[in-house]
């Protein structure tokens, strides 16, 4: 049965190699691990080791989060989400915890996951980076719930839901004990001292002479020189490259309901001095020239029945939310009779174009039904890309942590887990069952 499905998937995938079908695993026979995801607010690394956190000394001593916070997820999440303390800008109506069910299995070549969780939103969060025609030009339409235009009510909340996996093989110091808190820092987007623009552009690692970034995203404390792991106190390029070569990075994969789900993929990245995508070509790119705000593709009316969406189509599951280059797109025609209120996705998806290490997660299937997401995922134990992926082996034990971005949020407005051990066929917090 699995081979039949693989054959169908291969045919449907435009010939791209697809060797595993996570849906074919008999998940009814795989044990379920309940995981409580909780809302962390701005509990950035400098806060965790600072005076505001009573357990700071324990953290610095190398103790694990759960040495004090075992089974504390619900209490933390429900307290923080209300605001105050580490959440200066709460989002009204947000839930403190999400109950996640994790199942894992493996064969000789693949690790398989199945995740289930309930979303807070009464529709699939698959709209993202949309553009609206105002009668003259295309303008961005809708943002995440923390954006000022959404908070003010000027625009609707439109941002994709996501499921994230962090994976380590023991080479990132303290990750098994302190998990993603090693990656979240003051100065990143949507933190109290977020750094954007010139300070970033002038930094030798992140700026014009380096990564060409204009903001700060996840990074590991081990890539910095000071105790607080400040955003700008980076080790040298050579030192960072050496850490990466030695495997001291985290694998970070995100299933994106708008930017990868429709082509059965998840992205593939890593975290070291910054959150970066693996080399190659991502499942998604821009569907717009951002300087002129001219779309690149529109819906193929012959396949979709329309060239663009309208605001009232948002949430209509019968209509596509994403433009897929090889699936439902034709080149944008500026003279196609655009009307005020027409909406096009600002992102372009392509399974065919996705290449290299960035395209390793190519067997990921998610569904949303009755407010519950069910996501199955196949990941090669050995992707062949050791410079940016964690290479796993049967019998090995690794560390995983999970996060869900739910209900039109991005950055820190997510729900996260403490780290768990993952055994590939061996006992651990989460044991991947060996498939016969």
């Amino acid at each position: 049965m699995r081979y039949l499905l693989v054959g169908i998937a291969l045919a449907a995938s435009g010939g791209q190699a697809l060797a595993a079908e996570p849906a074919s695993v008999d998940w009814g026979k795989i044990p379920q691990k309940p995981v409580t995801l909780f809302y962390p607010g701005e509990s950035t690394y400098d806060w965790i080791i600072g005076k505001g956190h009573r357990g700071a000394r324990s953290v610095l001593q190398g103790k694990s989060c759960v040495s004090c916070h075992e089974a504390d997820e619900k209490d933390i999440g429900e307290k923080v989400v209300k605001g105050g303390g580490v959440e200066p800008t709460p989002i009204a109506g947000k839930n403190g915890v999400i109950d996640l069910t994790v199942q894992a299995a493996h064969d000789a070549e693949y690790l398989y996951f199945r995740f289930q969780w309930k979303s807070n939103l009464n529709r699939e969060g698959r709209m993202h980076d949309y553009m609206r025609f105002d009668g003259k030009t295309w303008k961005w339409y809708g943002h995440d719930r923390n954006d000022k235009v959404v908070r003010s009510g000027a625009q609707p909340p439109l941002y994709e839901d996501r499921f994230s996996i962090m994976l380590d093989d023991g080479k990132v110091p303290m990750f098994a004990k302190q998990g993603c808190w090693l990656t979240c820092h003051n100065g990143m987007r949507d933190t109290r001292n977020q750094v954007v623009g010139d300070p970033v552009k002038k930094h030798p690692i992140f700026g014009e002479t380096g990564l060409k970034e204009s903001d700060i995203r996840k990074y590991l404390a081990s890539s910095r020189t000071d105790a607080a792991a400040s955003w700008d106190k980076t080790k040298s390029r050579a030192e960072i490259d050496k850490i990466r070569k030695e495997g001291g990075f985290l694998d970070l994969m995100q299933w994106r309901v708008a930017r990868s789900a429709a082509i059965r993929m998840a992205d593939d990245g890593y975290v070291l001095e910054y959150r970066r995508f693996d080399p190659g070509k991502n499942p998604f790119s821009w569907n717009v020239d951002r300087k002129t705000m001219t779309p690149l593709y529109m819906f193929d009316a012959a396949k979709v029945g329309r060239k663009a969406l309208k605001a009232e189509d948002i949430g209509n599951a019968a209509l596509p939310a994403a433009i897929i280059r090889e699936g439902n797109a034709v080149a944008y025609d500026a003279n196609a009779g655009w009307q005020e209120g027409d909406i096009l996705p600002g992102r372009l998806l392509s399974r065919v174009d996705a290449k290299g290490s960035a395209a390793d997660n190519n067997a990921v299937d998610g569904t949303w039904k009755d407010s519950t997401y069910t996501l199955v995922w196949a990941r090669k134990l050995d992707t062949g890309h050791p410079d940016d992926d964690k290479i796993m082996k049967v019998g090995g034990t690794y560390t995983v942590a999970f996060a869900v971005h739910d209900d039109n949020v991005t950055t820190r407005f997510h729900h996260v887990s403490f780290p768990f051990s993952l055994g590939i066929g061996v006992d651990a917090d989460i044991k991947a069952t060996t498939l016969k």
Binding site: R57, Q61, H69, E70, K79
Partner: protein
């Protein structure tokens, strides 16, 4: 045992024998009252002196008269809440490391003679030597604390006198769990007064 005079060379042995014999011969020059009176006060002096000497070794001043302790364990203690805190209660070295019940204390003091040996041979007389032994030393202390149900911690802290409702949320819950699972203080509170050694939570022997 019979001792016999065998000539001048044997005189010292003869004196010992005479003294030994005199010790066990009933007194003819002193009344029983005198003997009891003198013996009583001599006993007090001896016993008091013994305990006085032992208590001298039971002070922080004595502990940190060795640079090994002063520069390492004590220096680290000074950075912790057991040294300076809101309520002004300080735990000194023996508060945590010497049992209060007398018989356990004597046993501990006898064990401590082994530390004199290591002092002489300089096992931890340099920072790098201390570091190399830190994990083994810490594990030894943790093992003994676990074996005594953290007896010395409980000199000051007891579950019965804790008002868990006044504790922060994680502490309240963890203490409740500890009670239910029969855990003892040191199983969670390693490193509260000194630095945690590298590898502290790996199984011993690694």
């Amino acid at each position: 045992m019979t001792m016999q005079r065998t000539g001048d060379q044997a005189a010292p042995a003869g004196r010992v024998a005479r003294a030994w014999s005199a010790l066990w011969r009933p007194s003819v020059g002193f009344s029983l009252g005198t003997l009891l009176f003198v013996g009583f006060f001599a006993g007090i002096l001896f016993w008091g002196g013994f305990n006085w000497a032992m208590e001298i070794t039971n002070t922080e001043t004595f502990c940190i008269s060795c640079h090994e302790m002063r520069n390492n364990a004590y220096a680290e203690l000074k950075e912790t809440v057991h040294f300076t805190n809101r309520t002004g209660v300080r735990a000194t070295c023996p508060d945590c490391h010497v049992p209060r019940p007398w018989h356990y204390k004597v046993v501990r003091k006898i064990q401590a003679t082994n530390e004199l040996y290591h002092k002489v041979i300089g096992t931890i007389d340099a920072p790098e030597k201390y570091e190399s032994q830190r994990l083994a030393l810490a594990r030894s202390v943790w093992a003994s604390m676990k074996a005594t149900d953290s007896r010395e911690c409980r000199n000051c802290h007891t579950m019965e006198s804790m008002d868990r409702d006044k504790q922060v949320r994680p502490a309240k819950r963890m203490h409740q769990t500890a009670l239910e699972k029969g855990k003892t203080c040191i199983e969670c509170h390693q490193g509260v007064a000194h630095k945690l050694p590298k590898g502290w939570d790996e199984p011993a022997g690694k």
